[in-house]
Structures are given as C-alpha cells and as structure tokens.
C-alpha cells in the first residue's frame, strides 16, 4: 500500500480561504494559492479545496483559483463544491485540478458518479459522504439522505468512485478524535481508498485514523497554520507512522 496521506482541507469562497462557514460570518484567512503552497512546503501529501459558496457566479472564480493553484503547486489537489454534471468536473480538471469531489449532487442523482468516472477516470472521482450515527446526511449535513453510510459507500465505489472521503458529522469539530467505528466499517466494506475526516484534536487521533483509513483530512486542527502541519508530521513520525520524506 502507498504511504499514509495527510490532506489539509481549505474552505474557499469568493476566491479566498475562509473560516466559520457553518456560522453567519465568513472570515477571510488568506489566499488559497499562498496557503496551499505553504502547506505543500510543510509536507502536505495532497490538498482539498472546498468551494463553500459554489453558486453559478462563483464557478468562474473557482476555475481561476484552480488555474493559479495548478501553476504553483507540485502536489495533487481535489476540488469540491458545485459539481453537478460530468462537464462541471471536466472544467475543473481542465483548469488543473487532479480530482473532483461530489456529495449532495451524487445523492440526488447517483448516476453522476458513473458519468464522472467515465469521462475523467475513477482516480479523479472522490465521493464525499457526511454521516451521523451511521446514516448519510445531505445538503451540508442539514437533511437526512435516507441512506446508511456503509451501503452508500459501497454503491459509490461500484459506480466508479476512486476514493471515499468520509466525514463524521458527530465527531466533526469536537476535537475528540475521528469516528473510528464508522471509518473502519466503511474502509472494510469498499475496495477503494478511504479518507477519514472530522474530529482530529491531536496526533494520536490522526494516527488512530490512519490505522483504519488510507488518508486523514485535516481541517480545524491546523487552524490555517502550516507550522502546525510540520509539528504534527513530526509527532506522527515519532509514533512510527511512515510519512513520506517531503524534500
């Protein structure tokens, strides 16, 4: 198996990295290209950029941001938010993204996963699943999707997803650790790589997640601070996690 991956996640709106998306105000915390480059220098294995507004007006903005990121970064990155058709995915890859992630749009129309895989290849298609108490939530976690997480992950992989990005809504933001039970259940059920997300408070949590999943998404634990990624990598290496030498 390839080495375990650490994947910082950046929320983007209006061409800027923002914070506090679950609340009323979005706070500007920097330029996605500069912050992405700083994480890359700090040893990120990949990056995820989530377009949290993803309105029609925003599409042009995110494509411009993706083009700038691709010109600067020499590591892979995924873009999520607002992908509703295979053509949306192709536009993001054409702008320089390596993968696209889909969530609610795939729940609303599961055939989208196969259409994306057919056009872009499975390795470029990430299906993001938000789960609470084993059930899938949709529309940024606000609605029950009337599906169980494990069978939905299996169906997504069968339809052509190349990776599953699994977020535990219950654990998200608690900093009390990833939902290892859910992560293990999904990872055991699908043949594709799984990225664990939600709940990281410290290196021990990330190490535990990497024992179940192939990658760990890092969001609030980093506080948009690349130096925290450097220290986290050092702590994980001290625990014997075989991270790559990022030189």
């Amino acid at each position: 198996m390839p080495l375990p991956r650490l994947i910082p996640c950046l929320d983007v709106a209006g061409g800027r990295v923002v914070k506090g998306v679950r609340f009323a105000g979005l706070r500007d915390v920097g330029d996605p290209v500069e912050l992405g480059a700083a994480y890359s220098s700090a040893g990120a294995d990949e990056l995820v950029f989530l377009d949290v507004e993803a309105t029609l007006h925003e599409r042009r903005t995110i494509l411009d941001v993706v083009t700038r990121i691709a010109g600067r970064l020499a590591i892979p990155f995924t873009v999520g938010g607002g992908v509703r058709t295979a053509a949306d995915g192709a536009a993001l890859l054409g702008a320089g993204a390596d993968k696209v992630s889909v969530n609610s749009a795939a729940l609303a129309r599961p055939a989208l996963i196969g259409e994306l895989a057919e056009l872009l290849g499975s390795q470029a298609v990430v299906v993001a699943i938000d789960a609470s108490a084993g059930r899938v939530r949709t529309r940024a976690g606000t609605q029950d999707a009337e599906r169980e997480a494990v069978p939905w992950a299996q169906e997504a992989a069968e339809r052509g997803a190349g990776e599953i990005l699994l977020t535990s809504i219950d654990a998200d933001g608690t900093r009390a650790g990833y939902d290892l039970e859910l992560t293990s259940a999904v990872a055991d059920a699908v043949p594709v790589p799984v990225i664990a997300s939600g709940g990281a408070g410290g290196a021990r949590h990330v190490a535990d997640a990497l024992a179940c999943a192939q990658a760990a998404l890092l969001a609030s634990i980093l506080h948009e601070d690349p130096a925290r990624l450097t220290s986290l990598r050092a702590e994980l290496r001290a625990m014997g996690i075989p991270l790559r030498d990022a030189i």
């Binding site: 590591i75 054409g94 056009l119 499975s122 390795q123 470029a124 190349g162 790589p193």
Partner: protein, 183 residues
Amino acid sequence: MRVAVCDYGAGNIRSVLAAFVRLGADPSATLDPEAVAAADLAVLPGVGAAGTAMTRLRARGLDEALRKRVAGGGATLGICLGLQLALEESEEDGGVPGLDLLPGRAVRLREGRVPRIGWAPVEPGGEAFYFAHSYAAETPAATGHSEGFVAEARAGSFVGVQFHPEKSGGAGSRFLARCLSRV
C-alpha cells in the same frame, strides 16, 4: 528547451506544462505531429481510459509521430497512462493495441486497494513519488519498481513512468530536470 506535450484530451496537462515552466523549459500543448517531431522532448501524458486515448491519438496521427520520433532517437517521456499506451497492448476494455514502443502489456491491478492512490517509494533510489492508477505495466523493459509494480520502463529514447512526476513535489521536479538534462 522545447517540450511538446501531447494534448489529446486525456486529462490534466496543465500541471505537466506548469512543471516544465517551473524548470525553465518552454513547454507547449500540441496536437500537431510536426511539433511532436521537432521538439527537444516530447511528453505523452494521460489519465483515464486506454481505448479512448488510443482512438484520439490515431485520429490526429500522433501515434505515428511518436513511433517515428522514438525510432529516430528523439527523447520521449510517457506519464501514467502514457506509459501504458507505449506498451504492445492493454487489457483494458477487453484489449486495446498500444503504440508498441515498449515490450509488454498493461494489466489491471489485482491486489490492494484500486485505484492505487498515494505516495510510494520507487526503487532504485527510494524516493517517494505520487501514483494514481488502476492498471500497471508488465514489461521486461522495467527499470524501476514501487511495491512490486513497474514504476519506470525504458527502451531506446523512450522513458515511461507510472507515477506523476508533475505531482510529486521535489522528487518529481528533480526527475523531470534529469529528463531535460539528457535531451
């Protein structure tokens, strides 16, 4: 240094162009067989399905342009699907004839999680590169391996790599710089 990157609609060539720009080369995306013939280095990138990719290469005459270029000793680099297309055939889609620049065939990965995605050490050297693939080459021309899979293969002036040097950070950049230095 002119680098012709075959732009036949098989995935993310912007990152390949950007990687060569960062190295001070002069890359361009092209579908013109003459540009492929004239470049100092030709690059066959690619992600996605082998059958579609071969159809597109043939439609533009790029298959012949690449064969002639390699036969004439022109430096040529295949990346990911570009390595698999260089083989005699791929077992994808029930069997797809390749460019026959390298002996051997591309076969579906049958162990581990597929797609195989992530950074893995490449021997010799031991540096980690980024992989994202569901098929791998089986070839006697292999010159590098990663976890038992062919990571690099060479025949004459053709070099094919299964990993993505344009996505492999410093290690990838150094690999591409070596490709340019050999031209």
